[in-house]
Amino acid sequence: MNPEGQARASRLGQTWDDLVSGHPSSDASMDLLSEIQFAQEVTSVPSPPTGLQAKVWRRVHGGELPSALSAIAISPSPNGVAHHDIALDLNHRTIAARTLDLLGIGRILAIGMIAGFAAGFMSGLWVRLAMRIAGSLTSDRNRGLLTQEEAAVGQLTIGGTLFLAMFAAMVGIVGGVVYLAVRRWLPRHPAMRAVSYGVLLLAVFGFIVMDENNTDYQLFGPTLLNVGSFSLTYLVFGVLVSVLVDGLDRRVPRPRPLASNHARTGAIVLLASIAILLVRGFGPGFAVAGLAIGLLLTICLRRFSTRTSWRLDFDSPVFLRVSALGLIVPGLFGFYLTVQGIVAILAG
């Protein structure tokens, strides 16, 4: 084949590869695309006869082919958004596959934590607004008094606002992770899911803010308005975290297996970076010793992981039952405390 023909063959192969991977290049030549279409058309064959799929399955498997499994394969959770598609199975797995599992866990945890932080920060600002409303509605004689948190009523500072928002952001990280744990049981509709998470948070963790011993609710502003505006914080946070987590989960790409040469290059770069840091920080002797210990630990870990039978499947029925129980029991207790707190505050 002449060089021109080779170049065309290579371009045809690349264009077809792009199509196969589902990412056709926008600048793909129409000429090459029509070549591919032509090959597909002249070699197209009829679809399998109806019922053949189930028949072959019975033959090779012995059982009945479950219906609507395609959907389950893509989204195993009831509401279709929260599939914990991570099964950490250290048995009979390649290192690459295990790395993928861990990257998958890291990805979803990072999404939950980032979303929780952002939603928490914004909820902190909402709390500040609620405090401002309460402060503005309080009687003049209360202005300047200190609240239980030792904040002067009617005086809002940027420093205080930022501190509150950052504190809420830190707490929000936990809220983001909790959302990951419970979202599979929330409603399918995005808006309903977001609101119900907020209501759930209020029901279970409302007692943290709805403290019956906090007299500020009665002292500053109308009690009912205070209870309402601070309760809304949970709803604001729930909605924000739900929208952010689900949005990020759709947009952030899932980890893909690295080509072995990429993995090798990555490992060399990582080791070289660690070596340079060790040499700069502690000297060459320490660096060599540190790398040797690291290598030894890696070998031990690899041997240990291939000989032991660890299995952690987040979709297994046992795990789901245990996690549901672990959420329901403290949840009911939290709900009881929240209701008690609200009733006590409103009763004065």
């Binding site: 196969v20 695309l33 090959a39 002249v42 070699t43 053949l52 399955w57 059982g63 009979h92 390649t94």
Partner: protein, 192 residues
């Protein structure tokens, strides 16, 4: 350009997860089976040119896949699956050739084609299998695997070729198909 949509039904990460589950539980193989059934059937159909034989071959492929699932170590399940499909069909071809040669040796077969056979043969020259049979084996293998949705690299891994060799064989195959379809008489002539 409807046919050009060749995106894969199951993403790599989903496949890794599903394969891991299927190794522990045979029932969990069902989603992968559903995702790839049509493609395996089409691959068998193209190679055998007969729906009944394609159905049997599809069954043989998935039997082998289920038997040897524990040994699936590849990062790409589909390239592993189609490697099994390719080997299964190669074995079937070999067995068929052996049966035919045995018939010939024992003179169990009437060598002369009947009028019906001739009519069918004329018709089958128009079929996909007949068209593909006009291609040299390496080009045909590459094109058949390509039509299942594999990449050059994956095809190369199955056939033991470099990706650029796959690209060249594929290019030649497509050019040849153009020539063969432009001149059907040449197809019939060559087929004979």
């Amino acid at each position: 350009m409807e046919q050009l949509a060749v995106g894969n039904p199951v993403t790599t990460i989903d496949e890794t997860m599903l394969v891991a589950r299927a190794k522990r539980d045979r029932n969990a193989f069902a989603p992968l089976y559903i995702a790839y059934f049509d493609r395996v059937y089409a691959y068998c159909y193209r190679r055998l040119g007969n729906p009944d034989e394609a159905a049997d071959a599809t069954s043989a492929v998935f039997s082998r896949v289920l038997e040897s699932l524990a040994s699936c170590r590849d990062a790409s399940f589909r390239s592993w699956l189609f490697a099994i499909a390719h080997n299964t069909l190669t074995d079937l071809h070999r067995a068929r050739r052996f049966a035919h040669s045995l018939d010939d040796t024992l003179q169990l077969r009437d060598r002369g084609p009947s009028p019906e056979d001739e009519a069918i043969a004329h018709e089958t020259t128009r079929t996909v299998a007949a068209l593909l049979s006009q291609l040299p084996t390496d080009q045909r293998n590459v094109l058949e695997l390509r039509l299942t949705g594999l990449t050059s690299k994956e095809i190369g891994a199955i056939l033991g070729k470099q990706p650029n060799a796959v690209d060249q064989a594929q290019h030649r195959a497509v050019s040849r198909l153009r020539m063969l379809t432009a001149n059907p008489d040449a197809v019939t002539e060559r087929h004979r």
